[in-house]
Assembly symmetry: C2
Homo-oligomer: 293 residues x 2
């Protein structure tokens, strides 16, 4: 059986076809324009693919409450045309198959739990650190939604004592995203992070802020693996800095090997590289079919 996967990002959409083992057999990618154009391209792509089910990991905020009449909608995004847009409804007009639907970051967490760095574990948290910061949460074998869905990028952090940067978040100023997402790095130094050398002070600061949120994640929900993806995390030298700061913050309070000698294999890059989102969306499709049976 062939399954469809849609990684619905605010910048680009990636569509693909894959199997139950998580192997992507075909893919296409195009920029995110107005919903009419973009969704038509999605529909055209899947039209002759004869998929059994489709999984979608979407930018948001989205409605993931199956009991809500707005289930399947993107809700309050500032992105023109997409606010209160019924993504799932549009797809259902063309395809009579089961649909999986979740946030892009929950999809990525799910993909990593199925086939990636958290394979075989019943919990993990996936951070994407890029244009924004998003957090996907998989706990006790289930993706976490709750009241809305996690929005972990916006947690309050403690600014470093010598840091006077005000932050870029329009809602919170100096929350994690406002202090540590890509645009914060760029605004702080006047150049993109990718142009700064590995010994530039921004990286230790970046690691410190991410480590604060990661430490709180560990204390609040104790995931079995923490996975850090996204453009900023392409700077691989951030990982050891983050490991050091997390250990410093927790200060030995939680005594488990994963947080002590083995922290380098506890806070890790995605096992699926840059494909966590697409393969995670595929996993949502496979799961949707299974749940229907």
């Amino acid at each position: 059986m062939r399954y469809g996967a849609i990684e619905a990002g605010g910048t680009k959409f990636v569509c693909g076809i894959g199997n139950e083992e998580g192997i992507i057999e075909d893919r296409i990618s195009f920029p995110t324009e107005h919903p009419e154009q973009t969704m038509q391209k999605v529909i055209d792509y899947f039209a002759d693919k004869n998929v059994t089910a489709i999984g979608i990991g979407s930018f948001g905020p989205i409605n993931v409450d199956p009991s809500s009449p707005l289930y399947g909608y993107i809700t309050t995004t500032p992105k023109p045309g997409w606010a209160n847009y019924d993504v799932l409804g549009k797809l259902r007009e063309s395809f009579n198959v089961p649909f999986g639907w979740d946030t892009d970051v929950n999809a990525a967490a799910f993909g990593e739990a199925k086939w990636g760095a958290a394979q075989g574990l019943d919990s993990c948290v996936y951070y994407t650190v890029g244009t924004g910061i998003g957090v996907g949460v998989y706990m006790e074998g289930r993706l976490v939604h709750g009241l809305v869905h996690p929005e972990g990028g916006h947690v309050m952090i403690r600014p470093a004592s010598d840091d006077s940067f005000q932050g870029t978040c329009p809602y919170h100023g100096d929350c994690l995203e406002g202090m540590a997402a890509g645009p914060a790095i760029e605004q702080r130094w006047g150049v993109k992070g990718s142009e700064l050398p590995v010994d530039h002070p921004t990286w230790d600061l970046e690691a410190y802020y991410l480590a604060q949120s990661i430490s709180s994640t560990i204390l609040m929900m104790s995931p079995k693996k923490i996975i850090l993806g996204g453009g900023v995390m392409q700077q691989a030298h951030l990982f050891p800095l983050i490991h050091t700061h997390v250990q410093k913050i927790l200060n030995g309070y939680i005594r488990t090997e994963s947080l002590l000698e083995n922290i380098h294999s506890y806070i890790v890059p995605p096992g699926l590289g840059t494909n966590s989102g697409l393969r995670g969306s595929l996993a949502l499709g496979v799961e949707a079919k299974r749940n229907q049976q």
Copy 2:
């Protein structure tokens, strides 16, 4: 059928008998001494009660991983005699019934979800704010354990700009527990919180620190209800202060009635009063019997 419940606290143990509807029919309480004395009292209490199953909500840290040889143990507590003590093993010597076993705060969260303020919801987070600060997590219909179990009292917070108190936590100094648990209030002002008037500045500060952690909880895992119990929360005037600070911190970012006009019914006192722990332990016992069937 009658079920046993044990609320195993670091200061006192409460044992009780109840039914499947969460009604406690009998109870006894005694101070926590060395394990030999305390566990003997527990065993004596249940000896003639003919219970179908027993649920235990315990102080910790404890091992809640059923695949571990140390499942059922209290692990690294400084409490004399209790470190690496096999609570469940001791009880199994005397009672051949199914056992439920979890942290005291997870038990309380479970009790509130079964019969209290979060009744009918599939997620809630329970904070106890007293001698220490503990956090129980119930998500997508399951108690969260993960790597160890949540230890949310120790999250890093941002000190208020005019607060120079160093905090009381031996591990982290000024983490949430170090700044906002009962002993922090007492050490900061030289008197117990219960002796301070409702217009004393400590309460706004207390609410600000709790609100930081609660806001992070909302952002990270989006629970459907947040319940605040424990000795410090007996100061009911803290609730509106906390509501105000949470709204100020989130600043309208998450647009849902529960966090806007209805926040007073979203962040609430325990529906079970001071019985969340005992009735939650009872619920763990009922669940253990169900899982066995």
